[in-house]
């Protein structure tokens, strides 16, 4: 909508630019340098994860499962291994890149499940109240106390440790926190005049929920989802610890941290490298989350 570069004289002073909601949100997001930088980092990571097999074929990075037991625990910077090797002499850098395929995807997709189930239940319970709220919240109470350790153990043991089963198992036990959070924020704004006005104007409950209630609880939801990413990645590592995670030797970040733990005294880099990768991802999603909340906040619109 913004007119091209303006030349002072021919400027059409009569009608200054007017832009729509989404373009405004995008322009505001674009102006938040931190959010943009973070978006770039995430995209780079995803790209690296995708082209990792290519990099391996071209020979830039070795096969993550290739063992070179003679020089195991080689320190970072040693020849051929930028980030060193692990207890079986496998290259840490390629383990990080290939590990990203599992860890990043699990970290992100689980959040969609959490948003779907948790957000859904929270919104519906908060908006309708009454026995609906009671039923959904008692179900959430049960899920809170649920021995998710046992549940995940059996689900994945029974159905097999495939990627989808693990994703579902983690997602299924991860949404309770978000549900209660969303319900809490909906309860307080449900009474707001503009919500009642919209209700009075006959707009359907789903429209109200999505247009009014969800945007307002955006802040806490985004924070919870960004914290959910490392949590999901570590839950996958716990699954592996229980024997029902992604089958080794496929590397994942969470498992690299767990395995590195045993050697933290003599070879700390084995823990530091995956933790840095995780921190970077978490930091990036944090700022993207902030940028998103500010960009979508109706009050901030020009």
């Amino acid at each position: 909508m913004a007119s091209p570069a303006m030349i002072a004289e021919q400027v059409d002073w009569e009608n200054p630019e007017q832009i729509g909601l989404w373009t405004d949100a995008w322009t505001r997001f674009r102006r938040n340098r931190l959010a943009v930088a973070s978006l770039v980092i995430v995209v780079v990571m995803i790209v690296l994860a995708i082209i990792a097999p290519l990099l391996q074929r071209v020979g830039i990075i070795p096969d993550p499962t290739a063992q070179d037991v003679v020089n195991s625990y080689a320190s970072p910077g040693s020849p051929g291994h930028l980030l060193g090797t692990d207890d079986l002499g496998r290259d840490v850098l390629s383990k990080i890149l290939f590990g990203a395929q599992v860890s990043l995807s699990i970290g992100i997709f689980v959040q969609f499940i959490v948003l779907g189930i948790g957000g859904g239940i929270g919104l519906v319970a908060g908006y309708y109240g009454g026995w609906v709220d009671n039923a959904l919240m008692r179900f959430t109470d049960i899920m809170y106390a649920f021995p998710d350790l046992l549940f995940v153990l059996i689900i994945v043991a029974a159905l097999g440790p495939t990627y989808l089963n693990i994703l579902f198992a983690i997602g299924f036990v991860a949404w309770v926190g978000l549900a209660r959070l969303v319900r809490g924020s909906v309860l307080s704004i449900k009474e707001k005049e503009y919500v009642e006005a919209a209700h009075a104007a006959g707009s359907s409950p789903s429209k109200i929920i999505l247009k009014h209630l969800l945007p307002n609880s955006l802040g806490p939801v985004i924070v919870t989802l960004t914290f959910g990413i490392p949590a999901a990645i570590f839950t996958e590592a716990v699954l592996d610890f229980l024997g029902v995670g992604i089958r080794p030797p496929q590397p994942t970040w969470g498992v690299m941290v767990f395995d590195g733990y045993a050697a933290v005294d003599s070879y700390p880099y084995l823990v530091i490298v995956p933790c840095v990768a995780l921190s970077l991802t978490m930091l990036a999603f944090n700022f993207i989350g902030d940028g998103l909340r500010d960009a979508l906040d109706p009050r901030m619109r020009r």
Binding site: G129, G130, N134, M137, R138, T140, D141, I142, Y144, A145, F146, P147, L149, L150, F151, L153, I154, A157, V176, G177, R180, L181, R183, G184, S185, L187, S188, K190, E191, K192, E196, N216, G219, P220, I222, V223, T224, T226, F227, P230, A231, F234, A237, V257, Y261, V264, D265, V271, C275, L278, S279, T281, M282, L283, N286, F287, R293, D297, R299, M300
Partner: protein, 339 residues
């Protein structure tokens, strides 16, 4: 906004809001919620009982030297595991009604009540202290980060949050041990968490476990508080408060904070429940004689009575604390109706 027939007319021309009659409806609501506690607990016991029994392996399988068939049979008879599963469940429920949670397979001669009684105080103390630290540090960090947005404080809060969430607490724990244990050991001649007499008098012993337990929740609470405080800061009534000439401290506490408490309280309930029922990894790394560790050991050892006992403790706590949170909503935000 219908005119409420039941409630006594308050003389106002158009009573726009149904009077909430604070004391009375609250009582009914709490009673109803407590009534709901029973089916929730029953359902939790049902699932956990069957999940535990479905899990592969029996309490008597072990690594290395295996038990003789005779021993296994004798053990099953002793603990009634040879009965059909439904009778076992019925018997278990009957005992629970008499507040007898059975005896632990791992610790013959000790009932689950005794074991929980012996191990819970340490976990509870550690959890409660951590909770206070988390709320105080987390909320204040969040508020300051929001008030001084995009400032030094804001970025350190974010950095702390990021590291907090990305480094699992057992790594934090072990790093603390490696770095601090020499120093701390010289002062307290032991960094073991010693609950002398069940309650650790000596706070020095709790520094590391509390720090490790609190690291991640502080980060999360700070981020949450920051985001909800930012939302409140943008509200018009904050500008009115400034316009009235209130001091900043008052504007923040009475106007901004009070409006950003809802998400904080929502998270605080289950957080407290989680903390006082113990974190497995922190208890393992710091050798805390707590209930968190015994829960995972119980699962690994398929110690059914212990699994059920601990799960019910946790279920009860979470349900009660969520009730406290729901009631707290009403006191924090009068617009929230209890129905």
């Amino acid at each position: 906004m219908a005119l409420v027939t039941g409630a006594p007319l308050r003389g106002a021309l158009i009573p726009l809001r149904k009077r909430s009659g604070r004391g009375w409806t609250l009582g009914i609501y709490i009673a109803r919620r407590l009534f709901w506690l029973v089916p929730v607990m029953l359902f939790v016991v049902l699932i956990t009982f069957f999940l535990a029994h479905i899990a592969p392996g029996s309490p008597w399988d072990k690594e290395g030297r295996q038990l003789s068939l005779a021993s296994v049979h004798n053990l099953n008879v002793k603990y009634g595991l040879d009965q059909p599963i439904w009778t076992q469940f019925g018997l278990y429920l009957w005992n629970v009604l008499h507040f007898d949670f059975g005896t632990s397979y791992q610790h013959p001669g000790q009932s689950v009540n005794q074991l929980i009684g012996a191990t819970w105080p340490a976990t509870f103390t550690l959890g409660a202290v951590s909770f206070v630290v988390i709320v105080v540090v987390g909320v204040s960090l969040g508020v300051v980060a929001a008030l001084r947005q995009n400032s030094f404080v804001d970025y350190t809060a974010v950095a702390l949050a990021t590291v907090g969430a990305s480094v699992p607490n057992f790594v934090v724990g072990i790093v603390l041990i490696i770095l601090l244990s020499n120093f701390l050991y010289k002062i307290t001649n032991a960094t073991f968490f010693l609950p002398t007499g069940g309650y650790p008098q000596d706070l020095l012993h709790m520094i590391m476990p509390v720090a490790t337990l609190s690291f991640l929740p502080i980060a999360y609470l700070a981020r949450l508080t920051r985001s909800s405080t930012l939302d409140s800061l943008r509200q018009d009534f904050v500008r009115t408060a400034w316009a009235k000439g209130l001091r900043e401290r008052l504007v923040v506490t009475r106007h901004v904070l009070k409006n950003s408490l809802i998400p904080v309280v929502t998270v605080a309930g289950p957080l407290f429940a989680g903390l006082i029922t113990g974190s497995v990894i922190v208890e393992q790394v710091f050798q805390v004689p707590g209930i968190g560790r015994s829960y995972v050991q119980a699962i690994e050892a398929r110690d059914y009575p212990m699994i059920l006992g601990t799960t019910m403790l946790y279920a009860g706590l979470v349900a009660l604390l969520n009730l406290v949170v729901d009631v707290a909503y009403v006191f924090i935000d009068p617009r929230v109706k209890l129905d």
